[in-house]
Each structure stands twice: as structure tokens, then as C-alpha cells.
Symmetry: D2
Subunit: 388 residues, 4 copies
């Protein structure tokens, strides 16, 4: 099952780490630590092998991929030896990267993306291409009536300059080109009724939103712990300090707001009430791709005794995100192959702000994910059996 | 369903908090925060109501219960207003407390405990009495051949002074008297083949070991998080600082060792390998019943990038333990009523070192617990239906 | 040396704690923990005794002092037993509290304050009255030309409604009434050229700004540590979570800004450069008067190796501030008695944003403070010797 | 002023980092971050320049220095580029390293060390050689009557195998050879009356003990902060987690005990009382040279309100220690040149357990250090002036 992984934001930290890691896995130069789909509970025949993944993507930046990889190595995100060992492979991926398309109208830009995707699929004789958005977080999109109606949207694309934010334009083009779409960012992406309609029309699955890699991951196990123990969370405050490109972008208050909101949601939905406190994101250039998050939780127990917990998470965001990007590409490809259409709510495990308002408890998300892959593998074995 | 709750170590911090809390719940002076059995997922007809619980117990100490309650109130463990509001109720429980029995031989001491339990049950016309061990943690017991054989144990009780540690003697007596037994401490308790045989002989359930209230509770959600994300935990080190009676007792290296061991087990069993590092317990008198635990976890992710997490837990041990004691009494009473015999492995949710080597993941323990209570409630409704 | 302590914001947390504590010290119901002036290095004959302090003050609120004290006791800021033991003493202080004065013009309000202060001094036959501002933090004041010129200010008071913010109006009135003035808040207070001129004209000392009680206190020893070790601080980020009246007030961005600025200054001035990072203040009602501050410091050492330190400070702001208020009243009274005029830069030890741009190192501030008090005591002994 | 720096334990982490750093400074490949003697307050003509330092040393291990340097670079302690840039310089130092001397009697071993030191000094025509002990921490030495008497010690060296621990044997030999001696470890070193007598006899200065680089450094500013603010420290508990050679060695309980003791002393001596709590050291191989220390401080303030502070220090021990080794060599050389004899108590700033029971406050130590160097520089200028 030859599978294209088309990364929007392909020269960013997450994308570069995903590409280097994917190539290293294929070359047996690295192990699958951090790749959820390599756990015994998820592994199986329905998923494309690492060797079957072919990378390409769009970016507005032009820094060569190998250069980005070296910078990440110098910052301790990647082992330098991997970058040094994979020059030809990285050069080959470089050939597959395209400039983010221009064009006078949104419709022109959509057409350009569709062309890039189709060419990529044809050139490499791929069974399918999964488009994964790992580009910079956008400010929240301006509402527009066409968001709710596919026909209206088609019309608007021809003449309304900003009818869709970039992430949704890519989503539109991906679906249009017959490619499943995954949004790893908090941007709007496919989260519009018109785009849902398009996915259904084309018989495509999509997934999102916002990869869950740090503080929110921890929240998604701690909040259920408090709930299961009937402890009352009084306040939950957090500060995320991060540098890197994502950090610089989030220093922009509008992008920040989108991110902060998706971070707090997990609490209200898990606990059944919203505790006091806020989550903040601050840009500290010196921290680079290593993020430090500190959270303080105050709670009361029996007879209202006051207690508290705090934690500090010191994680490398790109190293946490990249294997999940590979996981999502593999799982979404398998879902597509199995004929799944619409939002893949079973992938909530991977996201801060999962589609379909399901549970925010990591353990429940895990249960759903393992069941989902079990079904995919069983379906594949059946199919292969019938075929054989 | 009138249910006796007989506390071994009845004048200790956990017991006193359980009693004051149980009385306050009965009098509607406090809410059920921290009581797991009051969550919608667990509540139901099979459990005795708080109003049906009658407290009694043994202790080697003689400090009046009301006095202990006041000390705990002064230390901020309990609200002083509750102690002030319940003088008659506390005096009534005081009447039900007995000195830890003397006697020349273990058999004599067993007989005395059996008498105390039987009298208590008769005096209050109780449907059953659940014995819960919340006395000081013992050093690990000396092995003895009679531990493996009920008949041999019966003989040995007559003439071998130290054949059983205190916790097991109480367990023996409880079972002998027809009472289910719960061990909230890491002591040996009912965890001997001979005592299992006795439980089976008498048709009684038992539960344990070692209430999970702090650092280990957090471990039981964080360790699965690392496992589910395929992150490699390299080291996990912890320091527990606590005062109070339990802390003073654990300053004794032998008792400490028992406790530390049950604390580390969760990691090996959840992760499938044992990371580096140790968990330590230090006695710091000034901290009183408020325990501070600090844990450092170092781990690697994708491409072996090194990351770390640390947390500080600042909990009031007795306030965390007491509602679980009430939960365990209710659940064990219901299991007994339903005819359950032998180890209640479904109660692993409550314990650091659960019987029957089941999962250490809190979420999975929760799933088993909710299923268990659903069955109890369904059984009860059926029975009531048939009876009606 | 009978000394009046006139508190602006007399019904606030800091003021109430200062008053209860001062009364308790006088009654020998509490020890002087937290009172710097009771350390062997500072104690001496120049300072008024606790028994010589008489409390009064202004507030815009009307909650009875005893009621505020009970609320603080319930929140764990004060021991309830002290409030219970001092009903008459608290009632006596209640008699000395006045409403924040109204009046059509600033000049009218000044006159009212002067009257209140003069009456207080006369009524109790006080040698002097020290006015200490512990009222809510104001937004930064609007600049006005009259701030730079005493004569122009006198004119403006008669007809320009907002020429001075409240804190400066109180400072003006205090100086006008012959009372030394201490600003424990970050508000403008006496920090205007025209008010300096007034202090000089009246021969009065003044002190400020912004009591140093938590995170900044820690910064003032850690920042010099990094400097003395030639370690390069790359970033210093902080989050202050607090409830209480002060917290609610600081939720107002304008007041917050004033506070945050005075918090960061210490770093730049101690290190000689400004590291990356920001200090934030968030209001979390649940935390009440107990503030939690978390700081992350990243730094490089020899050969640019990267390291980090973090700390969590969990302090009771009012309990930290109140003894300093008493210290400042005693020291300022002694300085006044010794004929000191103008800014008391030797009191930098007590302030986040000390007057006269001196050192921010706590140790150097301590050296200056001990020298200052040594001189005061020596001068007093000389004077007493001459007098005797 | 050509100065030899003779490192006992020359192939260890601290020594290797000192050597690489010293060579890099000489070659202007690195800046002096972490070198206290390069601060404006300490810099001056009395100190030998980095270019004047010549390295040599003893070790029981035989791993080539360049190999150790590469290992440290791979672990992130050193920049690999420096090791790569200095192959000839490292090879030259390799030539100056000697095996820890054997010999039948202690006297034979002393003679061998004296020979090595004298040869080194002659070979390089050095003005003097400073011997710095950075070898593995020893268990506490066994007392022996000869420790108190130089003549008796001389006799015992001839025939009593273990009369001196290795650190003291090196100290003896250094002094015998006319070299000042610095102990950077908690081992006994020169801390014996007989060795003091030898230093005086030879007119030599010596310094120690136990470089202050992490948790104790922080303690030496925080403990004075609590003292200066009259806050009562109730407990101070700490856990030090470290890997590396030093960590492995400290996993030995005897060595650990020596270290822990010198770590706690600072508290008692600064506060005037010993708070509850202990400091522990645990070996966690995975942490390598990066140490994580966590400390919890509980304290009471005004009216006995309870508060707490915790900090986590994540430092690279060798990177913190190495510049201090260079500082100590320079300062001790200058003191020797200035004719100083006996313990250099003014160097307390650098040590956990400084000679001469002086203050443990970092700020006061700093004041003494700056005064000391000012005098050295002034003396040097005078001497140069007279000479000129
Ligand atoms: N790293 C994590 O743990 C994590 C977790 C959740 C979400 N995310 C999200 O993933 C995204 C990528 O993060 P990153 O750290 O790689 O950021 P980055 O800044 O390093 O990379 C983003 C890339 O997107 C490119 N880009 C911007 N606009 C584009 C456009 N219109 N078309 C094509 N490319 C465009 C940029 O040029 C850049 O190369 C962010 O939105 C981030 O919020 C990351
Ligand atoms: N509090 C928690 O969070 C928690 C969690 C898990 C386990 N535990 C365990 O619960 C137990 C009780 O803790 P605590 O804080 O109440 O301790 P505690 O010291 O306050 O109380 C123990 C009581 O047991 C009594 N006792 C001792 N030996 C006895 C005997 N032979 N017979 C009868 N009574 C005896 C003591 O006199 C004392 O009153 C401890 O073993 C502790 O390890 C507590
Ligand atoms: N607690 C600390 O550690 C600390 C440290 C530094 C500075 N401060 C400052 O001390 C001040 C007091 O803090 P708090 O916690 O007591 O706050 P608080 O809100 O409890 O008390 C402030 C009091 O000032 C009164 N007030 C407001 N405007 C007034 C006016 N115009 N005239 C007279 N009274 C007025 C309010 O009614 C209130 O009673 C704040 O400005 C705070 O920033 C406190
Ligand atoms: N790194 C710090 O921050 C720090 C702070 C204070 C004290 N120290 C002390 O500095 C010393 C060195 O630390 P390290 O991290 O370099 O340890 P390390 O284990 O890397 O190096 C010690 C070296 O000493 C050598 N050695 C052992 N016995 C010897 C002997 N008898 N003669 C000659 N050499 C001998 C060993 O072979 C090894 O090469 C330790 O005692 C440590 O406690 C270090
Ligand atoms: Na912490
Ligand atoms: Na921390």
C-alpha cells in the first residue's frame, strides 16, 4: 500500500522531524519510540509500512529541508548522525516540496494545490495521499455564510478573496483531489459544514484537531483521575513557555487565543464543570523547540480539605509531534482504504480538540483507538483472505 | 442493610477521619467529596447507605476519639465545626471501641477479637460487619510453614507466639467471626494461603492491599500515559515527605521497606520494564498529615530525544484515605451480601498493591470497578424484585 | 516614644493583619517571627516599642475590622484564637478608623485627611504619626505638569479634579500634616518632585515602593547568585497566581502592569542585562491570600552548557507583608526622630522598587539597613546620654 | 607568572572539563562564563593569565584524555567543536598525566608524587604548581594519632600502610614539594593538624573543601534570605539525583555520608538552628553529569502562618565545577605569590564546607573574596611598582 504523506508546512519543525524520522525508520537507523502505531495493541496488516510512505508537501518558506534538519540537530531535537546519514533521501524529498501556491482567486489556488497533489500521486504511483496540515497556527477564521453550504462555497471561491483561511483552502483542495485530510493544528481546516459535505461527496475521511503532545496530554490523564476519585478541582492554572517557530507564531495574540481555548476545553468536558484558572502561552526564544509547561491544580477532598498538585513538563514539541504525524498518516490511510467517510472520531487520542465532541479521557480514547484499529486489521485480513 | 464498620487502629488518623466523616455524612453536615461510591457511575441500591453504617474498632492506644478528632481539626485535616457538631455521635462510637486484645497465646487473642466482633454485631443487630485494617504498617512478616496450611495454622495459633503478625491475626479472627476483611495497609493481613482457605471455608470475601492515595495514584495514570504514547521511561525517582503517626512509623526502615516496595511495583507492571530510580519515604514531623511527594520522570521520545516531567503532590493523607475506607466498607458489604467469596480483585482501583496481580492502570481499574458495581446493583434489584 | 501608625486601606488584608499582629505582640500573645526589627542585628533603643504603637487609618470600605479579622482567620491567614482574644483592643482600633474623605476638590480632601491625622495625633498625645499606604494598587498616574512643581501643585489642588491619584493625595496630606509617609504599594504615592519638595520643606522622611514579600524577594537573592557566579541568565519567566482583594484588583490590567513592571526591574539592575521572559500575575479566587508563584530560570555556564532552575513559592501575602509594615513604621518613626529628611533609601531591603535606584541585592540592602539602624541606635544613645 | 595546575583525578569529568575549558580560553575559542575571576570585581594583575596555566595530573584510570573529552561532548557537557579544535593541545596535556603512584609504603608513594610534581615544575620552568584534588570522594578517614603530629606522621608514613587516605597523601606530597594544595572534594585532604603544621613549615597556603556548585549554592543564598527576614524554617528536605562517575561513587553509602554531611552544615550555621529534614543523594545513571536536585522548605511567618517553597535545580555538575577549579588555581597561585600561609579562609565562596568555620552566606563570602583579591591586586601593583 504505497502511501503519500503530503505535509502542509513541510519545512517547519514538526514536518522536518517527521520526514527525517520516517526516513530513518525506513532505513532502520532509528527505532519507533513515540510511534503509537508500533505498539503491540495497534500494529497490524491494515497499516502501510514505514517503507511504503512517500513524503512531499507545501511551504511558504524556502529554507532547504536538509538545512532545517541540521538546525534541528544543532538544537538537540534530532540526532545529527541521522541527518548526516540520509543526504540522498532528504534530497529526494526536497524534490517533492512545492511552494505554497499563489493565484488570483481562491479557486486558482485550490486548482494549483489539486494539481500538485495529483501530480505527486501519479508520479509515484501511490495508492493514496494523506494530506496533513502542520503549518503555522492561524488566527480564528472570519465566519462567512458560504462555510455552511458547499455550493455557495464553490461560487465564493471564484471571487471572494478571503472566504477561507489557508488551512481550509488546503482541506478543500485535498478533498477535491480525493485525498483524506488531517489537521494537526488548531486552525479551522476541514471543520466547516461545507467541507464536511465535500468529504462525504467524495467519500473521504478526515481527522483533527491540534496534536496533543504536552500539557494537554497530561491533563487528559490527570483530570479523569480527579473525576474518578470524586475530588473537586477548584483551580487549574498553567503557563506554557516555548520558543521555536510555533512559539513565535503563538506570540501573536490571535493565534494564541485559538490555542489556549482548545487547551482548556478538556477540563470542562472531563470534570463536568470549569474550574478557575487560565492556561497561558508565552514565547521565550531561548527555549527553542523545548517547551516547559507548569500547571498548578488546587482541589478539595473529603470534608473540603484543601490540597494541591503541580507539575512541570519539559518536552521537545517536535519530537513528540512527529511520530504522531506518522501515526495519523498511517491510520487515516488505512481508514480510507477501508472505506471510512467523514470525521474519524476514533482518533481523538491524538488531539487536543478532537472532532465529534467525544470523551477527553486519554484512557477512553485509547480504548476507542485500539478497537478501531482492531477492526481495520480484521477487515484487511478478511479482504486479503477473500482476495487470496 | 445495617452494616458494621470495624476499624483496626480505630484511634488513628485515617480511622478518626473516616468516623467523623461518616457521622457527618449521616447527619448531612458534609458532602460526599472524595467518596467514589457516591459518583453516578457507582451509586446504587446494593450499597448500604451512610445512615446504615455503625462504627466500632480496636486500638492499642487509648486517646479518646473526640480528642484525636480535635487534634486533627487543629492540624487542618478536619473542619473543627464538624467535631464540635457531633459530640454525642462521637461519644457513642467511643463506646464501641475496644482495647487491642491481650491473651497468652495467639489463639486466645483471636478468641477475644471474635468475641468483640460478635458482640458488636449482636448488640447492634447488624446484617454484617466489615473489618478494615487501618492500623500502623507492620514490618514484613517472618515466613512460617503454617502460613500455607489452614490446619497447621490452627495448631500453631495455640502455642507459637509469633506465628502471625498482628494484621493477620485480626484477619484470621474476622474471617473466623464471619466478617469480610479489608486491608488498607501494606501489612500481610489476609494475604496468606491459609487465610485464603479460611475465607473460602467461611464463604467470605476479602480485599487489599494498601490504600492508593497519593504519589501512587498519580503514577497509576501517568505510567499508562507514557506506555500508551510509546514513550520510553528512563528513570522515575520519588521522595515522599510525611509526618503524622504513619510517617513516624515509616521512619522505621523495616516498615518503610514494605511500603516502598508496593509503591514501585506499579511502574514495572504498567510499563513492562523497570526504569531506573527509587522511591523514598522520609519522616518530617513538621508536615503532619500533609504529605509532599516529588517525582522526577526522565523519558525519551522519537529519535531518542530526552525529556522530563516532574510533579509535586501536596495531599492530606487522611482526607484522601478516609472516604475510600467508607467506600471499601460499603462495596465489601455489598459483595458479601451478593455471596462473593475470596479476593475482591475488582477493587484494585483503591489499592497500591492490589490482590490478584491485575492491571495497575487506574482507567482499567475504574472500568472493572464500575462493571463490578453495576452487577451488584443489578443483582440486588433482581433479588429485591423476586423478594417483592 | 508614642507612635501612631496610620494605615491607608486600614480594612484591607495587610492592614488588618498588621493591626491584629501589632496588638498580639503588645499583649505578648504572639512572637515577632517575620519582624525584621526584632532581629539582634536591628533591635535597639531608637525604635518605638510595640507597646508604643497606636493604630488608626482610612478606608473606603466599611466592613468592621473584627469581621475582616475573622474572615482572615477562617482563611488561615491569622490564628482565630488571636482574634478571639483581642475583642476590646480591636474595638478600640475600630474607633480610630475613618472613611476615606470626600470633598469637592482635591484641596478639600487633603484638608480632611490633615484634620483626621492631626486629631489622631492630638487625641492620643503621639510623638509622631507615620502614614503607611496599604490600599489597593492604583493604575499608573496620568502625568501632569504640576507634579514637578510644588507651588503649581498647590494651585492645581484647588481646582483640578484628578491632578493627583489617591495615593499621592494621601502622601500630600500626610506631609502637610507633618507625618512621614511610607508607600507599601506600587502606586505613585510620594514619588513626585513636588511631593519631594514638600517633604524637604516640612523636614520629613518618606519611604517606598511596593513591599517585597514573595517572588521578588527570592529574585533578589537568586539573581545576585547567578551574577556572583558569572552564570549567564538567558530567560526568567514567572507566573504569580493569587486571590484575595489584592489579586482581584490586579486582575485589572492597568494595576497589573504597574506591579509587573516593578517586579522585573530587579533582574535588569542586578544582572546588568535583561534576560528573556516575562512575569505574569493571574487572579485565581480560590487561592485567597495564599499566593503561588512559579519561576523558571534558564542559564548557561562554562562553555555555554545549558542549565535551568525553577522554584515555587507558596506564601501568605498578608502574613509576609504585615510584619514589614510594623518594621517600616518603627524605622521611619526612628528616622523622623533622628531628623532624617527625604527618601529613606536605606530601607530598600523592604521594597520591590526602592527609592533612589540603589542595589537590588538583598544582601547589600541588608548591609545598608543594619548600618542605618546601628547609626539610629547610636544617635539615640548619645541623645539620651546628653539628655540624662 | 607561569603556573602549573596539577589535577589529582585528572581524567575525571571535572578535571577534563577544566582542561578543555582552560585550553579553549587560552585559544580564545570560548568565553569565561562561569569563571568568577573574570568578573570586573575580581579581575586584576595578581592572577596568572589563562595563557600562563600549564596542566598536568595524576589518575588511577588510563582512559585517554581526548577520549574522555569526547564522551563528555557526546553527553552535552562540553561542545564537541572545542574537542575537535584542540587535538594538539589535548595531546600535550596527555603527556603531562601520570599514573597514581604505587610504592610499598606511604612514604614511597609520597616520594613518587613529589618527584612527579618537581619534574613537572622543572620541565616547564613554572613559577609554582597548584595541586587541586578533583579525584573521587573518599569515605571518611580512620582517625590515627599521627594525624595530630607532624613528626609522628613522618614516622608512620614509613611503615603504617593506611595512616593517611589518598587525598591526604597527595596533600602531604604537594606541601612537601612546595606546592599549595586545594581540595575540591569532601575528602580529608589537608584538613589534619599535622598537614597544617607542614603547610606552615613550608610557608604554603591551602584551601578547601568540596566545591559548591548546585543545591548548596542555592541554599547559601536562600537560607540567609529566610534568616534576614526573620522567617522560621521548619523543615528543609532535599533529594539530589545524579549519574556520572561522581554519582556512581556516591552510591557507596560511606562516600555519600561524607557528602551529605557537608551539604546540611550550611543550614545550621546560617540559621542558628537545625531545621527538620534531610538531604539525600541517589544515583540515577540515566542522568549522567546532569544533576537534578529538589528541595522543599517549609517555614512559618508572622503569627505562625505556614508557608513553603520548593525548587528544582537542573545543573551540569562538571560545567559548574570546572571554571571554579580554574578560579581556585589562579587565586591560590596569587595567594602563594603574595606569601600567604595556612588555610585560605577567604575562599569560602567556592566551598560547601569551607575551612575556618566562617560564614555560610554567599553574599558575605563574596564580600570577603572581593576584599581578598583587591588586596592581592594592590600588593602586586605595589610590588611591580617597587620592582619597576
Ligand atoms: N509540535 C507540537 O507539539 C504541536 C502540537 C500541536 C500542534 N502543533 C501545530 O503544528 C504546527 C507546526 O508546528 P511547528 O513547530 O512545526 O511550527 P513551525 O513554525 O516550525 O512550522 C510551520 C511551517 O508552516 C509554514 N507555513 C506557514 N504558513 C503556511 C502556508 N500558508 N502554507 C504552507 N506552509 C505554511 C511555515 O513556513 C513553517 O515552515 C503549528 O500550527 C503548531 O501549533 C504542534
Ligand atoms: N493515609 C493514607 O493515605 C494511607 C494510604 C495507604 C495506607 N495507609 C495506611 O493506613 C494505616 C493508618 O494510617 P494512619 O495515618 O491512620 O496512622 P496512625 O499512626 O495515625 O494510626 C494507626 C493506629 O493504629 C493503632 N495500632 C497500632 N498497632 C495496633 C494494633 N496491633 N492493634 C490495633 N491498633 C493498632 C495505633 O495506635 C494508631 O492509633 C497505616 O498503616 C498507613 O500506612 C494510609
Ligand atoms: N500582601 C503583600 O504581600 C503585598 C506586597 C506588596 C504590596 N502590597 C500592596 O498592599 C496593598 C494592600 O494589599 P491587600 O492584600 O491588603 O489588599 P486589600 O484589597 O485586601 O486591601 C486594600 C484596602 O484598601 C482600601 N482602599 C482602596 N482604595 C482606597 C482609598 N482610595 N482610600 C482608602 N482605602 C482604600 C480597600 O477598601 C481595601 O480595604 C496592595 O496595593 C498591594 O499591592 C501587598
Ligand atoms: N562536579 C561538581 O559539581 C563537584 C562539586 C563538588 C565536589 N566535586 C567532587 O569532585 C570530584 C570529581 O568529580 P567528577 O565528577 O570529576 O568525578 P569522576 O568520577 O568523573 O572523576 C574522578 C576521577 O578521580 C580518579 N581517581 C580516583 N581515585 C584516585 C586516586 N587515588 N588517585 C588519582 N585519581 C583517582 C578517577 O579515576 C576519576 O578519573 C568528586 O570527589 C566530587 O565529589 C564535584
Ligand atoms: Na515544583
Ligand atoms: Na517543580
Amino acid at each position: 500500500m504505497r502511501t503519500g504523506v503530503w505535509l502542509v508546512g513541510a519545512r517547519g519543525s514538526v514536518a522536518t522531524t517527521s520526514i527525517v524520522g520516517g526516513l530513518a525508520l525506513r532505513a532502520h537507523l532509528a527505532g519507533p519510540t513515540g510511534c503509537v502505531t508500533e505498539l503491540p495493541e495497534l500494529r497490524g496488516p491494515a497499516l502501510p509500512a514505514f517503507a511504503d510512505l512517500v513524503f512531499g508537501g507545501h511551504d511558504v518558506a524556502t529554507t532547504p529541508l536538509a538545512k532545517r534538519a541540521e538546525t534541528l540537530a544543532a538544537a538537540g531535537v534530532l540526532p545529527g548522525r541521522l541527518v548526516a546519514a540520509l543526504p540522498d533521501e532528504l534530497a529526494a524529498v526536497e524534490e517533492e516540496l512545492r511552494c505554497a501556491p499563489g493565484g488570483d482567486t481562491p479557486a486558482d489556488r485550490v486548482a494549483a494545490v489539486v494539481r500538485d497533489l495529483t501530480d505527486f500521486r501519479d508520479r509515484h504511483r501511490l495508492d493514496r495521499v494523506v494530506v496533513v496540515n502542520v503549518s503555522s497556527t492561524e488566527p480564528a477564521a472570519h465566519p462567512h455564510p458560504a462555510h455552511a453550504d458547499l455550493a455557495a462555497l464553490r461560487d465564493a471561491l471564484a471571487d471572494t478573496p478571503d472566504v477561507l483561511p489557508a488551512s481550509s483552502l488546503y482541506a478543500y483542495a485535498a478533498l477535491q483531489a480525493g485525498c483524506p485530510y488531517v489537521d494537526f493544528t488548531p486552525s479551522t481546516g476541514a471543520r466547516l459544514p461545507a467541507l464536511h459535505a465535500l468529504a462525504v461527496e467524495r467519500g473521504l475521511p478526515y481527522a483533527g484537531h491540534d496534536g496533543k503532545t504536552g500539557e494537554t496530554l497530561v491533563k487528559s490523564v490527570l483530570a479523569p483521575m480527579f473525576a474518578m476519585r470524586h475530588l473537586r478541582v477548584r483551580s487549574w492554572s498553567g503557563l506554557n513557555l516555548l520558543g521555536g517557530g510555533d512559539g513565535a507564531n503563538l506570540a501573536d495574540p490571535a493565534a494564541n487565543a485559538a490555542k489556549v481555548e482548545s487547551k482548556q476545553r478538556v477540563l470542562g468536558e472531563t470534570l463536568g464543570y470549569v474550574p478557575q484558572g487560565e492556561t497561558r502561552i508565552d514565547y521565550v526564544e531561548d527555549l527553542g523547540d523545548f517547551k516547559t509547561a507548569w500547571d498548578l491544580v488546587t482541589f478539595t477532598g473529603f470534608l473540603d480539605t484543601r490540597m494541591r498538585m503541580e507539575f512541570t513538563w519539559h518536552g521537545c514539541d517536535s519530537a513528540l509531534a512527529a511520530p504522531l504525524v506518522l501515526d495519523l498518516a498511517r491510520l487515516t490511510a488505512a481508514a480510507h482504504a477501508a472505506g471510512r467517510v467523514g470525521p474519524l472520531t476514533e482518533l481523538a487520542f491524538f488531539f487536543k480538540d478532537p472532532l465529534g465532541a467525544p470523551t477527553h479521557s486519554l484512557a477512553e480514547q485509547w480504548a476507542r483507538l485500539t478497537e478501531f484499529t482492531r477492526d481495520l486489521h480484521a477487515g484487511k485480513e478478511n479482504a486479503d483472505g477473500h482476495a487470496g
